[in-house]
Symmetry: C2
Subunit: 291 residues, 2 copies
């Protein structure tokens, strides 16, 4: 990114924390940066699982209510490298039943809150979807739904797999998806039963794998929307690509007003704002040291 926060070059892959642990976090970082011809002293700011206990350098959690403007005060630095590497903390909610954690999404929330225009409820869909209640840049509370991960294991590891083999990617406009969303939304308290209706529908009515995967995906997203209990003032959806389309369609099916904020832009903006705050604090510190 340039000094104005604009993206100069980018690179990405699907490797998760398991791959990074195996190859070494530093090696993976330098491999990415080499692809961008990045200077060897270019500072790096990281959010997500690199800050977890199994990550590169553990950086704890800010407990809710958490002021995202203060994220920069709680970062961890990785020592002994040529370049400055800064890792952001996650956010936690404790204790008891509503125990919850996030890592990485707090940075998306920070970036998104700058263009949230007064939205109070944010939804960040994914393997573990996060729903946050925000007041300006403060996270007041949040809740995780295991939607994406459960769609994966249900479709690969349970009896439902026989009804889903060879299914193509789900389209947001598929009627089987919308029907699934509606059933999941209206019967969220019967989720593990409506899921079985996919198997029964296949046996009795010979539905196609595409239809069955669309229904499964719809049921899981519909149940998430019901469980999250979005308020009447609409939801800011922080998402990109196919996931953004599916969730926009699901929100429309459930009659919930939604405003899309691009997740890629949100996380870039969050990272940049943390970096700017760190630089500004350094300068202030330098000035006050001189005076």
């Amino acid at each position: 990114m340039g000094n104005d926060g604009g993206v100069l070059a980018s690179t990405a892959n699907e490797d998760g924390i398991a791959v990074a642990r195996e190859a070494g976090f530093h090696a993976i970082l330098e491999e990415h940066l080499a692809r961008l011809d990045a200077p060897s002293d270019l500072p790096v700011v990281i959010c997500g699982m690199a800050g977890s206990r199994q990550g590169w350098k553990e950086c704890g959690y800010l407990e809710v209510p958490a002021e995202l403007d203060d994220l920069w005060k709680h970062v961890a630095g990785v020592n002994g490298l040529n370049r400055p590497v800064t890792i952001l903390p996650g956010i936690s909610q404790a204790p008891g039943q509503s125990s919850d954690v996030m890592r990485g999404e707090e940075t998306k929330l920070f970036g998104a809150s700058m263009e949230g225009h007064g939205a109070h409820t944010y939804c960040i869909p994914g393997q573990h979807s996060k729903w946050a209640l925000m007041a300006k840049s403060q996270v007041q509370g949040f809740r995780t739904f295991m939607t994406g991960e459960m769609i994966d294991v249900l479709s690969r590891q349970t009896i439902l797999q026989h009804s889903l083999e060879g299914a193509a990617e789900v389209e947001a406009g598929d009627p089987a998806f919308s029907t699934g969303v509606r059933d999941g939304w209206l019967n969220a308290d019967k989720l593990t039963s409506t899921l079985f209706s996919i198997r029964a529908g296949d046996l009795l009515e010979h539905r196609s794998p595409d239809e069955n995967l669309a229904r499964l995906t719809g049921l899981m997203i519909g149940a998430e929307l019901a469980g999250a209990e979005p308020g009447s003032d609409g939801v800011a959806l922080v998402a990109s690509g196919q996931l953004a389309q599916l969730y926009q369609s699901a929100f429309a099916t459930c009659g919930i007003e939604v405003r899309l904020i691009d997740a890629e832009i949100a996380v870039q903006r969050g990272l940049f704002e943390v970096w700017r705050a760190l630089i500004s604090a350094d300068n202030t510190h330098a000035r006050s040291s001189r005076s």
Copy 2:
């Protein structure tokens, strides 16, 4: 079984339909019977997946409302064997959202209904728990919950596995189980979120694997009880062993009156009654042929 329906000898193992398909259904049957020194012409009555499309001989479904006294009229016979082998049909519910199927549980229901003493709601817990609304021996409707299978995949194939490694079998008296049941019962519409609280609780409060597995099991069973919406006139629980203890404890936690019917005895009784009806019809047929 003797002519009075009493059990003379029994054998069992955990092999499912995949093993039986591989080894051959006939071979598996004779292997079991050889262990019992059963006569080579002893008749055999079978319920469950042997009657499915992937089974030994397909035997369709009775559609609800299904009179279990009529199960014997819809059996399939396996031809070309020394002994008479009779396979029972399943029950189906169609079409649309509430599509559902059962195979094997209809026989348990049939046996259980003979000692149900007016119970209207039956619960048969398992990998796929079945809840049936009955009027005497007629199944009026039913619903499947994927409780057991989902506990398995959640504990082995998702992020929750890291919080469950090495956990011992869940005890019905474990407070973490009861708390899980209560949370699952009260927040059934947020199931995929309360499940994630197991991971967060582990990270933030370092709970033990035993405690986490008890909570997971409780959440799933509590959500099943809520989704099944049992009426105020109590439930007949058709179960045996550890599963019977867990569900009895869960019903007590949710303040639902429950009457236990042993699942082993119920299925034996159902199989025997079907056999008796077949013999009786044969005799009637023989008599009317003679007259």
